[in-house]
Each structure stands twice: as structure tokens, then as C-alpha cells.
């Protein structure tokens, strides 16, 4: 696997694959923008807003939980303060991070996979996964983390070819930012840090990657985690297998047992293959992508397992999105390394199938994480219309509470009084999830709005 161009800037004339890739990335960006503007807020976004963005700083810093993706929270605070609170301003940081991620993927693929079909397939594999597509605009930290980590990888790979201290310093900061954006990225960031540090130390190059990553983490995380309780951090998958199952489910939109087995087997195989290739091609500068990607996948798994065993940390769920670029880059690098036409063609066909599969379940609408809250905005508008400016007491299902709170802020409806009391009490309006839908019959409520996840009743 050799870099195909010493300069990652635009070639004189772009090939059809490159044009297709640009169109694809442009389309993805446009779709992300539209989704960011039109989709209802997800419970994760609403919870984060309700707990960490809307309250004053003192209150927001007085607690911490794993749902607080610090970098995203910080940027969302700036964005929503600078512009009015809308879904777009809420998602603007993620949207920009998404654009940066797409740019990083483009440059990475262009630099290491030429301008042919492998290039296009890498672009597709790294961007069309529904989990990745969601991260490009959902107001969570995953998009930011993904962008920062991918840029770190890109800059480090650049420096393996032509050593550039400035790029490496930037990579160190990016690694720190990726963890600040989502703690789930800690394992992959540390893995990349360790591998690249060993690489450059072996070359006799002095660099400050660890220090810069550490300082970035320190500066941005120290205040938010000041009040962190360990119990609130220990939320996630119970085993690595479950984390991989979850990733496969979200990526392919289905949850077959065979798929789970296949996913686990593929991950183990990729990690082992990565390790073999890493050892085999260590010291070959032109194989840096293969070596580094080969090393970081197994190392990430090892770090996750060690952390789970000794620190009792859970495994990432949605945060395991980093495995998408990491594994896809590794597998593609390995296949291309063989230079066997048949294998490459087979791989390209498989890639095309996977991309087709991704496209088949492409999330044009609501985010994958919480489709049942797709109608949140419509419901809120209905409620606003019905309630007007009168003070109304709302009985809200626990799961829907952050969403209702968000729209209360969003539409400045301070007259909505969502009370934390049992739903069996009498309220002016009810916002119910399917779990509490029986209440409609019991209390003979009049349904004003209903979709697959939310019901507004009076």
C-alpha cells in the first residue's frame, strides 16, 4: 500500500471516480444540512441540551455524565448563543465537523488509494454507513470525534511520508479533541497515539504528540469532569461482542444472529490480520497506512478490554463508530496490498454490495438512534397552537421529557409546565410514549396528535 501522490491537493484533471466521489460527498453534505434543519430533535440531543447547554454554566458544570460530549456541548453553547436556538444552530457544530470529516476522508482516500475504484470504494465505505451519516449532523459528539480522529490519522500518515512537526503537533491536538468530543474515542485515540509515537521514536524523530494530546484533554475536560461520578460514566455495552453486535445492527439496520456472529468473526479476523501485516511491514514507510491501521485496530480492542477489566469501564455503543473507518481502511489496505486482480475485484464487488446495502437503509429522515421521536417537532407545534399563551400543566412520559423541555426552550413556551409527577394525576395535556399509551383509554383522553412514537392528548 503506497501513497499515490506526494501532494494531496487537487490533480490537474480529475478522474470520473474523483468526480463521483466529490458528488457523493457534496450530496452527503447537502443531505446532512437538510436533515439538520428539518429533523426533530432526538432524545440524546434534547437531554444534552436540557442538562448541559440550556442551564447556566454553574449548573451545567455541577454535574457530568457520559451523555455530555464536552466539545459538542461547548460548541453548541456558542452556536445557540450566537444564533437563535433552532435545530440547525443546535446541530451546526456537528454539521461543520461532518464537513471536516468528509474532507479528511476525501484527502485520505485520495492520498492512499489513488483516483480509481478503490478510492471510490473507500469513500463509500467510510461515509455511507448510517451511523456515520447520522454523526455528520446529529448534535452529539460522535461527528466531532470522528472528524478529529480522522484528521489526526491523516496528519500522522502524512508525517510518516514527509516528516512535518507542525502537522504532528496538530495531530496531537486532534487526538485530544477526539476524546474531548466523545470519551468513547479514548481507546482508538490512545491506540493511534501509541502506534505513531513508537513509529516516530523508531525513526529517531522527536515529537510531542502525547504531551499535546494530554494538554488538549486537560484544558477542555478538567472543568466538566470536576464533579463526575464514576457511576454516571459506566454506561455502555457489557462486552466487546455486544458492542460489535450493536455496531452491526445500526450499520445494517437489522439484527440477525448470523450477522452478529459474522461481525464478531470479521472483527477478530481483521484485528489478527492487521497485527500480522503490521509486524510484517513495520519499518516500510510506504506501508504506513497498512502498518498503522493494522496496529491500531487490535490495540484498540486490547485497550478496551484492559480498561473494562481493570477500570470496569463499559464498551462503547454508538461511540464505536470509530471502528468503521478504522476497519474499512485496514481491510482495503490489506486487499490492495496483495495486488491480486481477482481478490481486488471480489473486494470491490463486496464493497459495492455493502454500499448498496447502506444506501438501501440510508437515513434520509429521522436519526437511526431514535426514530420513535420523529414527530417531536410537529407535536410541539400542535401543542403550541392549542395551548396558546395560557399556562398549561403537562403530563409527560419520562422518555419524552427532554424532548418536550427542548421545544419549550425552542419555541419559548415558558407557559408549558412539565411536572415531574405521576401521569395518573390530572394535567391539561399529555405527551405520551407507547409505554404510557394505555393512559389514553384509562382516562378517556382526546388524542390531538399521534405518530408511531409520540401522542399528544388532552
Amino acid at each position: 500500500m503506497e501513497p499515490t501522490s506526494s501532494d494531496s491537493t487537487e490533480p490537474v484533471s480529475a478522474s470520473r471516480a474523483v468526480i463521483a466521489a466529490r458528488c457523493l460527498l457534496g450530496a452527503l453534505l447537502a443531505i446532512s444540512l437538510v436533515r439538520a434543519m428539518t429533523q426533530s430533535v432526538t432524545p440524546g440531543e434534547a437531554w444534552n441540551f436540557d442538562r448541559f447547554v440550556a442551564p447556566p454554566w454553574a449548573e451545567a458544570l455541577s454535574r457530568f455524565d457520559i451523555n455530555n460530549h464536552v466539545l459538542n456541548t461547548l460548541l453548541v453553547r456558542i452556536s445557540t448563543a450566537r444564533f437563535h436556538l433552532t435545530e440547525l444552530s443546535l446541530r451546526l457544530p456537528s454539521l461543520l465537523a461532518g464537513a471536516l470529516y468528509l474532507l479528511a476522508v476525501y484527502r485520505l482516500a485520495r492520498r492512499w488509494f489513488g483516483d480509481g475504484l478503490p478510492f471510490l470504494s473507500v469513500i463509500g465505505l467510510l461515509t455511507l454507513n448510517p451511523l456515520v451519516v447520522d454523526a455528520l449532523s446529529e448534535a452529539r459528539g460522535y461527528g466531532l470525534a470522528l472528524a478529529a480522529w480522522t484528521w489526526a490519522l491523516y496528519l500522522i500518515l502524512e508525517s510518516t511520508q514527509s516528516f512535518n512537526r507542525r502537522n504532528l503537533n496538530l495531530a496531537g491536538v486532534c487526538l485530544g479533541l477526539s476524546v474531548v468530543a466523545s470519551l468513547a474515542f479514548a481507546a482508538c485515540a490512545v491506540a493511534l497515539l501509541l502506534v505513531s509515537t513508537v513509529w516516530f521514536v523508531a525513526e529517531g524523530r522527536r515529537q510531542k504528540l502525547p504531551q499535546l494530546m494530554f494538554l488538549t484533554l486537560f484544558v477542555l475536560l478538567i472543568l466538566p469532569v470536576n464533579r463526575a461520578q464514576w457511576a454516571t460514566l459506566a454506561v455502555g455495552a457489557k462486552s466487546l461482542g455486544r458492542a460489535l453486535d450493536g455496531l452491526a445492527d445500526l450499520s445494517l439496520g437489522t439484527s440477525h444472529e448470523i450477522l452478529h456472529l459474522g461481525g464478531r468473526a470479521a472483527a477478530v479476523a481483521a484485528a489478527l490480520a492487521g497485527l500480522v501485516f503490521c509486524v510484517r511491514y513495520w519499518r516500510r514507510r510506504e506501508d504506513a497506512l497498512l502498518v498503522i491501521a493494522g496496529a491500531i485496530l487490535p490495540l484498540s480492542f486490547v485497550l478496551l478490554l484492559l480498561s473494562h477489566d481493570y477500570l470496569h469501564t463499559p464498551f462503547p455503543q454508538q461511540g464505536a463508530v470509530f471502528l468503521v473507518p478504522m476497519s474499512m481502511l485496514l481491510v482495503t489496505s490489506i486487499i490492495l496490498k496483495f495486488r491480486m486482480k481477482a481478490a481486488q475485484i471480489t473486494y470491490l464487488v463486496l464493497c459495492a454490495m455493502l454500499c448498496a446495502c447502506y444506501l438501501a437503509i440510508f437515513p434520509f429522515g429521522m436519526y437511526t438512534a431514535a426514530p420513535e421521536f420523529a414527530g417531536g417537532r410537529t407535536l410541539a407545534k400542535s401543542l403550541r397552537q392549542k395551548a396558546g399563551t395560557a399556562n398549561v400543566r403537562l403530563g409527560v412520559s419520562l422518555d419524552a421529557e427532554p424532548v418536550v423541555n427542548y421545544y419549550r426552550w425552542r419555541y419559548r413556551q415558558s407557559n408549558w409546565q412539565a411536572e415531574r409527577k405521576p401521569l395518573t394525576e390530572t394535567y391539561d395535556y399529555y405527551v405520551l410514549t407507547p409505554a404510557d399509551a394505555a393512559l389514553i383509554e384509562q382516562r378517556h383522553l382526546h388524542v390531538l396528535y399521534r405518530d408511531r412514537g409520540l401522542t399528544l392528548a388532552q
Binding site: 503537533n169 486537560f218 484544558v219 478538567i222 470536576n226
Partner: protein, 729 residues
Amino acid sequence: MREVADILYGAAFTVAVCLALGSLLLQRLRLTLYRGEAALLGFVSGAGCLGFLMAILCTLHVARKGVFQWGGLAVVVLAIYQFRRLPRRRSLPAISFSWLVPFYLIFSAYLVYYFFNALAPEISPDGSGYHLGNVVRMWKAHGFDWHYPSMYAYLSQGTEMLFLCAFAFGRHSAAALVHFAWLCTLPLLIVCWGRRFHHPKAGIFAAILIFAAPVIGKDGISAYNDIATATLIYAVFYLLKVWDEEKSTNLLILIGILSGAAYATKYTAFLTLPFAALWVLRTPASRLRHLLLVALPALLLIAPWTLRNSFWLGNPFAPFFNSLFPNAFYHPGMERIYAETLKHYTGIQHNWQIPLELTLRGGLVSGIFGPTFLLAPLALLALRLKSGRQLLLAALVFAFPAYLNSGTRFLIPAAPFVALAIGIAFAEVPGALPALALFHAFVCWPAVLSTYCDPWNWRISEFPYRAALRKEPSYPFILKHIPEFGLKVPIELNVPPGERIFSFAGRPEAYIDREIIISYESTLGNLAQEILWTPQAHRPEHAQHFKFLAVTTRGVRVRNAAYGTEFWTVAEFRLRSQGREVPRTPGWRVSASPNGWESPLAFDNSYTTRWSAWENLAPRQRIQVELPEPQTLDEVVLDCAPAWNAHLQVEILLDSGRWVPITDTVETALADFPRGIRRSAARDLKALGLRYLLINQGDMVYEDMRKYPAYWGITELSEANGTHLFRLD
């Protein structure tokens, strides 16, 4: 505005005299210092000298405004005259503007914020309490007040001497501004150190860390002495480094002066002189001469305080080491209780909490240094350089007082060294120092700080420019921050001048024009506290009877032979013969060991007063009576709240002068306790000259006093914020 002008004049005049004295000293010593450092070290050393001179004036009781005014002016004029004849000093090695400009921007922003806080009326607990309380008493007495019993009056008071000079012109805020001058000096001195010793970036970084550190800022704008102490210690370290380079013997004199001034400023700087001496002794040549050059000036500056305490109290190191230097002014047991209280972190559940408390939260340790100091362990990376090793050694040595007092303030002397070591450790990481410095300056800004530290963390929390410029009256401003200040007017209206008031807790005595005796600050306070607690806490309801065959003797004593953590106390010591008490006569010679001064309290027929060893139980503790004539005795009775771990035995005095044991068999019985203990307590308090009480609602006696005011014989005169002023009728 007149008041503001007076404040500014008082502070500026004091600083000018310090600068002048320092300038004259540096000229006299012919030291080749750079321009910036000469000015700063001049101020520091001049302050030490002024403190020394003021201590002499206070001893002679000639501490008056006119003396300060004309003496100070003479010094300033002389210094200006001398200064004009001197060649201009060289400037320090240059430093990039890209570092200097941001530094001065941050420095200026904090400077303005701090200045207005320092200029505002003094509201710090210790500043308005004993620091300026001592100053006010000295100001009234034109020297040391030898009659006021307080452990805080026994401490060395080098900075208070400067406060006294400023106070004479501008009152409380002028004193706080003098301490603010020290606060400004320290970071600038750190910058000079960096420039001189080839760590300019680390110097600027450390200066920002120190100047912006919340606890340092708050302390520096208050009439405290911690920043003065830290600056003196740092100046000694600075000059030791200079001495390493130049080996000028005159530098050693200056080092000695500053080491002595550090001790004179605060006892916790006692390690400065040994540190400097050991540093100097590293050089093989002329060791004794070098040692003397450091030690003699230091001892000269230490002398006023040790001599004062020796002559006044009989303990050169009062209020500490009372076991070694027993005296009637402070109990060793109280010293132990006080030290134990300060030593332990209260409310800390796990040791890992301590660094977070010191840097981020501050509620349990009274102040924070800011989050960047969490990087202190990484300062160990500076060990690779000689400078780094020296800084870390100094940090370790001067952090020692924090072992004795858990308050964040006591780590301030070590902070500059740690900050510099962190700077050196990260100097080669691109962008690290500017990023960290900006981060620190941002997160330590008072408005930002309030968002993450504990709400009750000791810090600057507002920008009181209106109060500072006296555009709003001081009374409500002080009252807002010191609620007990509300008692000032009632006290001054109801308590006649010259009367003393007893209080269990410290009060803003600098603002109250009456003497307040605090329970834990003196033996008098201890005694008053014991008396007030007697009805509830330790009624002498037990009688320990020691019966033996009748003997004729001229002396009897009861001696303890066991160890324990309790204090042995005796409310009444009675001798009996054939079932009747032997009447006491003026010829009885009573004594005790330890705390013999209070032995008469066991022979005064009052159940509310008692003799206490005020030390942990130990063998050879005794209380005894020698009779003018031989008496036949067959029983000794001790009315007391027994120390159950004590092992007591009665001894009698033989004609040969030898004490022999006669029995250690004790029968303890509940005595028929007489009524009227509260009235008795009130009577004994009045006998001590205490007719007024300041009682908090949380104090143990408050509920009882509220329920039975008639039994106590008290009248409530006033109340403010849960503190009640009572008069003993």
C-alpha cells in the same frame, strides 16, 4: 474622595519608604543587580528593614503618625538623593514582545480587578480579625499592647508593622493595599528570575499562574501576610541563585536580611534561614564566614520578636512550644488542640479529594490555586535540569508548613516554585505554555471561577468599585460580608470603654472599639470558657475520697502516675480530719505541676473554676498544698469531673522534706452538688473582668442562657445574625 486619597497616600507612602530603605541598602551593599530586579528586591528588602525599625518603635512606644511621616520622608529624600548619584543599572536580558505583551495584558486585567478589591473596605476574616486587630491595638497604644492576651498577638508581626505605618494614614484599606503591593511584586520577580536564568517563557508562564491563582489573589488583596511571606522566601531563593553565579559576599548579607524578614513576617517561614544556610554551605570555601554573613543579619531581624516574647511571655517562640517554655499565657494543651484542628482536613472522605479541593473546589480547604496546578506532578519532568531540581527542592521544603496547617494558604510559599517547574517541564512543548497560561487566566477570572468552584470557596467574587471609591457607604458593604459587624454599634453603645467582652469565636476586632477575649486565644479565654461550660459540660459532681490513718504533716499532694489523653482537673481540693474539713488559711502554699499558675483555682471554694493540667495525663503531674503548721489529717477529697484514666495517689510531706506516698485507694462518689452553679459562673466571670458576652446561637451555652437568663443573671442587649450580646448583671 478624601478617604480614598488618605488610603492611597498611606499605602503609597509605606511602599515608598520600603523602596527607599531597600534602595539605600542595595547601594550600601554595592550589589550589581539588573534594573527590574533591583527595584523589586529593593522593595522586598526595604520592607524587611522597615518592619524591623517599626518593631523597635513599637517596643519603645513611639509608634506615632508624626514619627512615621517625618522619618519616612527623610528616608525617601535621602534615597532619592543617593539614587541620582548612581549610574543607571543594566536591564535584564530581553524577551520577545509576543510574550511580554500578552503577559502585561493579563497582568493589567487582574491588577485592576485586584486593586479595587484591595481598596474596598477590608472584609477578610483574619484581616478584620487579628491581623488588623493587632494593628489597631498597637496604633492605640503607640506600640505593643502588653496587656491584651491573645496567641495571635504573640506571633511575629513583620507585615503588621508595615500595616501599622499605612494604617496611621489610611486605616484598614491602606494596610490591605500594602499587602497588595507584595502581590504585585511576586509575579514580577518571577518574570525577572526567568529572564535572568534563561527560562523567560517559564517565568512569564509561572507569573501568570501565580498572579491569577484565586487563593493568592484573595489573600493578596486582604490584610494578610501570606503573600509577603511567599515573596520573601522566593526572593531568598532568587538571591541564592544569583549568589551561585556571582559569589558576592554582600549578597549573603541581603540573603540573611530577607531570611530574617521572612521569619519576622510569619513563623511558617522558619525554614528560610536553614534553607539559605545549607545552600550557602554547599560551597566548600569560607563556609563559616558565609554562614555568619547569612545568619547574623537574619538573627538581627528575628531578634525583636523572640526577645519581645521572651521578656513578655517567657517563651521566645510563643504561642508555640509551650511545653518547652511553660508560661501563664498559653496552655500547652490548648496549643495541641489548636494545632490538631488546623492539621487535619475536615470533610475529606478520600485522599484523592485533596488535590481537587486545592485546585478546583476549595470549599473544604479555603481557597484554590486553579486547575492548572493539577499539572504539578508533571513538574517532575523539570528534574532533568539543574534549575528544575532546585525549584522542586525549594517547593518541597516550603510546602512543609502545609503539613501543619491544611489550609490552601499554607501552600502559597511553595506555589511559585511549582509554577516555575511546570513551566520548565512544558517549555519545549509547542504552544503549551501560552495555551495553559491563557486557560489559567481565563478559568481563574472571578466570574468564571464561580461557575465551577464550591460556592463557599474563599475567593474574590465581585468587583466592588463603588465601595472601593467610597461612592457607597462602607457600613453596608462590610455588613454584607461580615454579618457580625452589625454588633459594632450596639457593643460600642452598651459596653463602656475599657470593659472586655468574652467570645467563644473570633470577631472582627479591627472594627470594634472594645477588647474581645476569645476562648481559645489565651489562658484567660480558656478559663472563661471553662467557667461558662461548667454547668453543662463538666459539673464537678464527683468527689474522690482518699482515706488513710491519721497522720500529722505539713504538706499533702495528689500525684498522677498514669498516661492518658485526658486533662486532669480538680475543682476543689479539700483536706479533712475526723470527718470535718480543715479550714483553709492564707498561710496555705498551693502549687501544681504543670500549670502551677492556676493551682489556686482548686482552693477557691468555687465549683465553676478548676485547676487543669492542660496537658495530656502523664506521670509526675501533681497538685499540692503546704501548710504553715503541722496538721493531723485522715482524708483528702477532690471535687472534680474525674479523669478516669488517671491513677492518683496521695503523698504527705515528712519532716525530712521528703514526700512519701500514703494511699492510692480512691472512693469515688457522687457529691451532693449545690444549686446556683450558673450564678456562680457569672460571678467568677465578673471576677475575671469579663462582664459582657458575645454568644453565637450555635455555642453550647446559648440554649441554656436563653432558657434560664435569671439563673445566669444576664441581660441580652442586642443581637445580630445569630450572635447575641449579653451583660452579666
